[in-house]
């Protein structure tokens, strides 16, 4: 195995594959950083061009795009408060405040370094533990998914800052937006009010583009007369220091494991990886109050997990031919179009190709790190480009990105409509985090619960008899109860101390 991997690494480092990989990573970072454009779109665009390429080179190129695009999102998230990809939403919550406080270089450096570490740790899992992990993943049934999402919800509930009521309101609004459309659980249309355009409900990408990007465009446009305080990267190094590895090592390791694991599960996605890792990091942090105001730990958790997700999602792809994410479904399609049958036998029938894919993933992460670190000073100037030039360009890409999703104008109107919604929510000091989380998680929560109930014939028993599901549930209950118990316990202790002092 080691020999196969070494062979593949050496192969990917020869000029031609390396050229395709670097091209892929660079282009990936580019589309990742532009809100609206995504790595998936780029892969689909290049797919017909790869018909004329050697199949290994084609896969190397696509994996480069995949790795680059997940990482590129952190640039716009940090500098513009606009997540370049859905998976970097959590990065905006801490990256942007940090940049605004005069430390954009530090925020970018942390994000880039964490992306590398997350990618490489997931790479280790991919190389060493692929077959047992993908086996184990199938033990996850609807109850486990349901309990996992409940836990994620509880973890992330903490993200809401300020008013509890406003956080809840935002969450419920998010759930409401997820309601309309064809309901997978019963095959019926729900709340479409007879508009066929609504038959599919509101898609993730246009809603996110609206709430996070379009609303920011509106806000920035209204304040365009105000001279922004010029931000510079300064002379501080953007490299992550060794001390950072020590300080954030535990967080990185934990977030990588979370990201890898969620990556393996089909149909969950990189944005949820980073949400869960962020939530966990916050709940174990010594400074949870810093999250959302420029916490280093928040950036590290989010960016480690979303890159680890890529490696995790490749695991079921290479071992079983099951795509762990939509992007992997594109890779799967590309394999078939190149007359390569994906599936459990891929490792035997196309050993060199599989190892080349893995090697491309590993080297792609390193290449991503180098390219982003070396170009960050140049890219960082983005923040000082006059908004009058920047905003129309971003608007343009948002519109194109939303349209390209399923070639419908409807999605463009969704972006604009939710831009207004997002802007109004922010004006009313209603946090966007819970809105998005309600929107993203409620669909999975409902679908999994209803599947589970269909499977059990309406009984909830299995939720308590299946060990993994029960564990998740107990953890969620404990976390829910903690804020209630903690002050009470403290009061009790204080009370006892007071009593002790009083009694002579």
């Amino acid at each position: 195995m080691t020999l196969d991997l070494l062979d593949a690494l050496v192969f990917v480092l020869t000029p031609v594959p390396l050229f395709w990989l670097l091209l892929g990573v660079t282009a990936g970072i580019f589309v990742g950083a532009i809100p609206g454009l995504s790595g998936g779109m780029l892969i689909v665009l290049v797919m017909p061009l790869t018909f004329y390429m050697d199949s290994t080179f084609a896969l190397v190129l696509m994996i480069g795009i995949y790795v680059g695009s997940v990482s590129g999102g952190l640039i716009s998230a940090t500098l513009l408060r606009m997540p370049g990809t859905p998976s970097s939403i959590m990065t905006t919550f801490d990256g942007y405040p940090m940049a605004r406080d005069g430390k954009p270089g530090r925020a970018l450096g942390l994000g880039i370094g964490s992306s590398l570490v997350g990618g490489l740790i997931a790479g280790i899992f991919l190389v060493v533990l692929s077959p047992p992990l993908s086996r184990w993943a199938t033990t996850f049934g609807p109850w486990e998914y349901f309990a996992l999402v409940v836990m994620a919800l509880v973890l992330i509930a903490a993200i809401s800052q300020g008013s509890m009521i406003k956080g809840l309101l935002a969450g419920i609004l998010g759930v409401a937006v997820a309601m309309p459309g064809l309901n997978e659980s019963d095959g019926q249309l729900r709340l479409t009010l007879g508009f066929h355009a609504l038959d599919n409900g509101f898609d993730l990408l246009p809603v996110l583009l609206g709430v996070f990007v379009m609303s920011q465009i509106i806000k920035d446009a209204l304040e365009i007369e105000k001279r922004a305080i010029p931000l510079t990267l300064g002379s501080a190094p953007v490299w992550m220091r060794l001390a950072d590895l020590r300080r954030h090592g535990m967080n990185m390791l934990r977030s990588s494991v979370i990201g890898t694991w969620i990556g393996i599960l089909p149909g969950v996605g990189a944005s949820i990886s980073s949400m869960v890792a962020y939530g966990v990091a916050r709940s174990v942090s010594k400074h949870p109050e810093e999250f959302g105001t420029g916490s280093e730990e928040g950036i590290v958790a989010s960016e480690t997990a979303n890159n680890a997700n890529v490696g995790g999602a490749l695991i079921p792809l290479v071992t079983m031919g099951i795509p762990g994410s939509p992007m992997d479904a594109f890779l799967l399609g590309a394999l078939i179009l190149h007359n390569i049958q994906p599936g459990p036998l891929l490792f035997q029938t196309n050993k060199a190709l599989v190892w080349a894919m893995i090697a491309a993933y590993l080297i792609g992460n390193v290449a991503m790190f180098l390219i982003m670190t070396l170009s960050v000073r140049w890219v960082g100037r983005l923040i000082n480009v006059h908004r009058a030039y920047l905003l129309p360009a971003i608007f343009f890409f948002c519109v194109i990105g939303a349209f390209a999703l399923s070639n419908r104008m409807f999605d463009v109107w969704v972006v604009i409509g939710f831009g207004v919604v997002g802007f109004a929510l922010e004006r009313a000091n209603i946090p966007l985090g819970p809105f998005v989380i309600g929107f993203v998680l409620s669909r999975i929560l409902e679908g999994q619960l209803r599947s589970a109930l269909m499977s059990s014939g309406g009984s909830l028993d299995e939720l308590f008899t299946r060990p993994i599901a029960l564990t998740f549930l107990v953890v969620s209950l404990a976390m829910l109860a903690y804020p209630l118990i903690d002050p009470w316990r403290r009061r009790l202790r204080n009370h006892a101390q007071v009593k002790q002092r009083r009694s002579p």
Partner: protein, 323 residues
């Protein structure tokens, strides 16, 4: 997801063609501009892959003077895309690709149109389908599945995607065998596979190609729904042999809006037949588990009518919440 870049490419190649080749003969030679193929799923799936096989073949083998361009319109169980095909101008420049879900979506009430609202161009092949279980699971044969269901109603769990053929075919089996099986919503193909292999459900519908592909992972076919046994899996009995008269195929159906001029449809049929005669196209279609025979619209319409007649009586059952 494609159309933007592709349209530009197509427009560029069209412009190049116009610049170098003087139009010859008749003024209104069809096609004089690129033809859009609407695929009602996202890029990457089997349906998309098949459309792209033809997109590639038409260009590589220079079968059409114009490009065909795949346009993905994902959503609402394919109905966003099928509706767009139906509502496109009937000029032969918009066609689409879909499967028997056309009939089931109408039966479920998600759409208010079925195959009769289209001009059917034909089918570029079909996949043989069958039920499969986990190799070391409680069920080891089609017979055992029926017996278990007879002994105790709803004791067999079937992983389905509600309202689509993968749901209606097992429902038809249960109804014809006079048993109750528990339908569990699981979702798309990859999820159904994971659900069966993980032991969360007992049975699911797969194509013969998937049987072969996932056998090493522990998937065991128990029957096929073809008329005769499938040559790829000669040991697997048909449902008819097991006394349950269900035949079902998963056809890849090319559609056009109603009222497209017949000469244009005939032109397209010839183009598809030419493409399918190429060995590389055959090989790629087989990669997706497709038996590549061109099936004419008359036969296909009969098949879809038959599916409709089978599915409609089951709708009440399909829509009922499981008890």
């Amino acid at each position: 997801m494609m159309s933007f870049g592709k349209t530009i490419l197509a427009a560029m190649s069209a412009a190049a063609a116009m610049a170098f080749v003087a139009p010859s003969g008749a003024a209104a030679a069809y096609p004089e501009k690129p033809i859009r193929i609407i695929v009602p799923t996202g890029a990457g799936g089997a349906m998309d892959g098949i459309a792209r096989i033809f997109e590639r073949a038409f260009e590589e083998h220079k079968i059409l003077p114009q490009r065909m361009v795949v346009v993905n319109m994902d959503g609402a169980g394919g109905t966003i895309g099928t509706r767009a095909i139906k509502d496109a101008p009937p000029d032969g420049y918009t066609i689409g690709l879909w499967h028997n879900g056309l009939v089931t979506s109408a039966a479920m009430g998600v759409t208010d149109f079925d195959h009769s609202a289209f001009t059917i161009i034909g089918s570029t092949g079909f996949a043989v389908m069958g039920l499969a279980v986990k190799a070391d699971g409680p069920i080891d044969s089609f017979k055992k599945m029926i017996e278990m269901s007879k002994a105790q109603a709803n004791s067999v769990k079937v992983a389905v995607n509600i309202g689509l053929p993968v749901h209606f075919i097992p429902l038809t089996v249960a109804s014809k065998a006079g048993v109750e099986m528990r339908m569990v919503q699981v979702g798309g193909g990859a999820k159904r596979l994971a659900s069966v292999l993980g032991g969360h459900t007992d049975v699911a519908l797969f194509s013969v190609q998937e049987f072969l592909k996932y056998e090493p992972s522990g998937l065991k076919p128990i029957n096929v729904f073809s008329k005769e046994r499938a040559p790829l899996v000669p040991d697997v009995p048909t449902a008819v042999e097991m006394g349950v008269d269900v035949q079902a195929t998963d056809s890849r159906i090319w559609l056009a809006p109603k009222d497209v001029p017949p000469d244009r449809i005939a032109y397209l049929v010839e183009a598809f037949k030419t493409a399918m005669s190429k060995p590389d196209v055959k090989e790629r279609l087989e990669g997706f588990g497709i038996n590549s025979n061109f099936i004419d619209p008359v036969t296909l319409t009969e098949e879809l009518d038959r599916t409709r007649a089978e599915v409609v009586p089951l709708v009440a059952k399909a829509r009922a919440l499981p008890q």
